[in-house]
Amino acid sequence: MRYLPLTPEDRTEMLSRVGVRHIDDLFADVPAATLRAPDLPPGKSELEVERTLAQMAARNMAAGSVPFFIGCGAYRHHIPASVDHLIQRSEFLTSYTPYQPEIAQGTLQTLFEFQTQVAMLTGMEVANASMYDGSTAAAEAVLMAHRITKRRKAVLAGNLHPHYRATIATVSAMAGDEVVALQPHPAGAGQHFEIDAETSCVVVQFPDFYGHLTDLRPIAEQARAAVALGLLVPPGECGADIVVAEGQSLGNPLGFGGPYVGLFASRQKFVRQMPGRLAGATMDAAGRRGFVLTLSAREQHIRREKATSNICTSAGLCALAFSIHLSLLGEAGLTRLARLNHAHAVELADKLAAVPGVAVRNGHFFNEFTIRVPGSAAAVIEALARKGVLGGVPVSRLEPRRPELADLIVVAATETTTAADISAYAAALREVLR
């Protein structure tokens, strides 16, 4: 086996040095009746593995091979070649959580940079070194709000991503906390939140699941917490106390849903209630600046059952990809990129609105919006896929129990969307709806 350096002679010699005759002597504590070989095929050469997996991969319709308009929490963006090269540097790829900081300054400094970038982007004071993804970060944000307020009820906006809602609801139900999920309102009007003495937080998505841009400031005045997502007015400026986001859009491929990177930012005064790792600056014995993991008295490996979260492994390498991509873009590049995304989405909205039977539901949006089609949106999306167009997400995929949403499709455009893609979509949709 090519990954195993020991030769049969090595093994014999080592067993003798250890003082046993047979390898199973070292497994003496394992009940003998359970020592049996699994019913699995023998190993394969590199070439054979490649052949097997490539055949599986080839059966999938890759986003880059067709006109592609799917979003809903995961977006197809162009990732500069240098990002993927850099995250495959051995020293980044094959290192561990930086528990020995003297030989992990690379990881620690990049995490410190990541935390700063996330804080700047969200308009918040402090950010952690990443969570698993946006949805789990949202669930952790709710738990954090409960700890801060010592209340146990979360109110979820109706236009929160349905799977984020389910993720939060699952953790809350299991932890014995209350969740009030408001009704979806795909037309995007403002929503009133009933906030009482038990309410710890209001969770709002920005832009929302249907692509609407709702001013969060009135909500923040009404409550004192929000969860948002986006590259527009920073949620920090809208009065949010905790901001989480899915960071996949920068540096990370679609990858069928993971691994992604959860962004988690808050106010300095709440830092000791934050989950996850934090890198901080300090000095070494010679007085040089260096970085370490810090405030670990919040974390499970120190505090065990009293920790702020059970999280250990986070999304280190995905956070690095995010950070490298953002360093390459800079503020100038990011602004241009966002503008191009918006421009393509505007063009797409106009072209789709011109298809008979199709109505665009959003007045304001960023790179994603909702359309209404006659009949079943799921059937339309399937018919489009058969024509080689991935035309968005039928809301029924995520909200199967709400027939009133069954004619809605959430559609996204990014910088990767071309004019030809848009024309192909409009033409295919016209045919499907005829």
């Binding site: 995250i87 920073p234 040089r288 810090t294 492994t313 390498l317």
Partner: protein, 518 residues
């Protein structure tokens, strides 16, 4: 002017032995905020034709100050930083309970195939049959290796898997009309175990180990009651020992109507040798980033699928795959579940860590069943070889018995030397090694937990043993300077963690934060 050779540091001083502070290949690197500028970009982006924006009044004002780097500046920044890291490819990384084994590059290549990397989690399922086939194949291998009835693939890491397993247990108890309040956790467990149980509102009760480092079934029995929901047991445990009472513990737990959760962090010792399902476990997470060689990436991403016994299988979370006569069916909502199934909910927005699934599958296909078995045997042999090479100089807390894939020493052998476990670990850095896990598990004093993994050759182990023997003898001779001043040859000397925690500087600001102030 090359801005990248100017160590523009906030706080701290620059060593005087060179003008730049650099030492040949070891080059000081400033923060991206000190070398980048907001107007610079390393990505060329086309300007769209004139259009009227539809952002309403919510357009961001410029001036947040995010710095940009041109492409060559970015490459240099991150390559220089990478060189300040120790990775598995750098040298031996014997971090106990972390399984720093070789990460095959074939796995990376496979994960990047567009058919896996460039597919959206919400594409019509009809357009991703290959992805579902991969989930099915991975699930089959994991179930076969563990002897389990079902698998939940979506948990994002080990601790997320613990949560998944405990939630299924809670749901199963609720289905019986029971709300039990206690989870038993041995003292040697990873911190995530008690933290996961506490997150779900359980009271954590510690089970002490007996003098040989393992849990006594009779002791477990004493703690069991109608209030106990589950025991969480790591097997092999974090002392590197197989819990030899495991079957008796499982029987006692089941007699009490409780469930048996196994922490699979150390599954790499027995993968392909023994199936946890045959030992009586009800749920176990598998760290794909440990046993199945997906890279640790400086702290993630991981992946923590959970296998379930038949008793817990009906409560597995969505989404999951059903393979029956009709072929593959993917259940994404509780309402779509087959009769008798009661999914407890959803753990994450999408399907789990697909990128890690592909890597793990690539690893398993390469090994096959026989290769997995050989890898486990080699991991155990290597750990015992290290034990045999060091046990006369360093102290074993539980006597000279065989260990599994990792060997645990305590610090009794350092008594009177004026050198701590931490000093010893830092001296290993100067010798070109990543230290072992230190001060964990908490059940022994000054723990040093060494896990060489199957990826080390005999020659590599011989040099490692010789190095640790040399250090151990130096410690016993009282050569303190070699230890208390270590590391002397790393990119940084010992870092002041107390300062970092007392006055947290968690981000760069303009003007820069001051590190010097007391």
């Amino acid at each position: 002017m090359n801005r990248q050779t100017r160590p523009a540091e906030f706080g701290g001083s620059i060593p005087a032995d060179t003008f730049t502070g650099n030492r040949a290949l070891d080059i000081e690197e400033a923060l991206v905020f000190e070398i980048g500028r907001p107007e610079v970009t390393g990505v060329d982006i086309e300007t769209p034709a004139d259009f009227s924006p539809r952002l309403g009044l919510l357009e961001r004002k410029p001036g947040i100050g995010l710095p940009g780097l041109s492409e060559p500046e970015a490459l240099r920044h991150y390559v220089r930083l990478s060189r300040k890291n120790y990775g598995i490819d750098t040298g031996m990384f014997p971090l106990g309970s972390c399984t720093m084994k070789h990460n095959p590059r074939l796995n990376e290549k496979m994960a990047r195939l567009p058919g896996f990397a460039d597919i959206h989690p919400l594409q019509p399922l009809s357009t991703v049959p290959g992805a579902l086939a991969l989930l099915a194949e991975l699930g089959h291998w994991l179930r076969e290796l563990t002897g389990a009835a079902a698998v939940a693939l979506s948990p994002k890491a080990g601790a997320h898997g613990e949560l998944c397993g405990l939630m299924a247990i809670k749901a199963a108890l609720a289905a019986r009309g029971e709300a039990r309040s206690i989870v038993l956790v041995p003292e040697s467990a990873h911190g995530t175990n008690p933290a996961s149980a506490a997150l779900l509102g359980y009271r954590v009760e510690a089970v002490p180990a007996r003098s040989d480092g393992t849990v006594d079934a009779a002791e477990v029995e004493k703690h069991l009651s109608a209030e106990v929901a589950a025991i969480m047991l790591t097997n092999p445990n974090t002392c590197g020992l197989f819990e030899r009472d495991v079957v008796a513990i499982a029987e006692a737990v089941h007699r009490a109507g409780a469930f048996f959760y196994a922490d699979g962090a150390n599954f790499n010792a027995i993968a392909g040798k023994s199936r946890p399902g045959d030992l009586g476990i009800d749920a176990m997470h598998l760290n794909l980033h440990k046993t199945f060689s997906t890279p640790h990436g400086g702290g993630g991403p991981g992946s923590g699928p959970v296998v379930f016994s038949a008793a817990l299988a009906p409560f597995a979370p969505v989404p999951y795959l059903v393979c029956d006569a009709g072929g593959l069916r993917y259940v994404e909502h509780a309402g779509e579940a087959e009769p008798g199934a009661e999914p407890f909910g959803r753990l994450t927005a999408f399907h789990g860590q697909m990128g890690m699934f592909v890597r793990a599958m690539s690893y398993m296909l390469a090994h096959g069943g026989d290769g997995m078995r050989q890898a486990s045997e080699d991991a155990v042999l290597n750990a015992n070889y290290v034990r045999a090479g060091l046990q006369d100089l360093m102290s074993l807390p539980f006597g000279e018995r065989a260990c599994m894939h990792e060997v645990l020493f305590d610090d009794r052998w350092l008594e009177g030397c004026g050198i701590t476990t931490l000093d010893f670990a830092k001296a290993m850095i100067d010798e070109g090694y990543h230290p072992m896990t230190v001060y964990f598990p908490l059940v022994v004093h000054g723990a040093m937990l060494i896990e060489p993994t199957e990826s080390e050759s005999k020659a590599s182990l011989d040099l490692f043993i010789a190095t640790l023997r040399d250090l151990a003898m130096a410690a016993k001779r009282g050569e303190k300077a070699r230890f208390v001043n270590a590391p002397r040859h790393a990119p940084r000397g010992r870092l002041d963690e107390t300062r970092a925690a007392r006055r947290p500087v968690l981000r760069w600001t303009n003007p820069p934060p001051q590190l010097n102030e007391q």
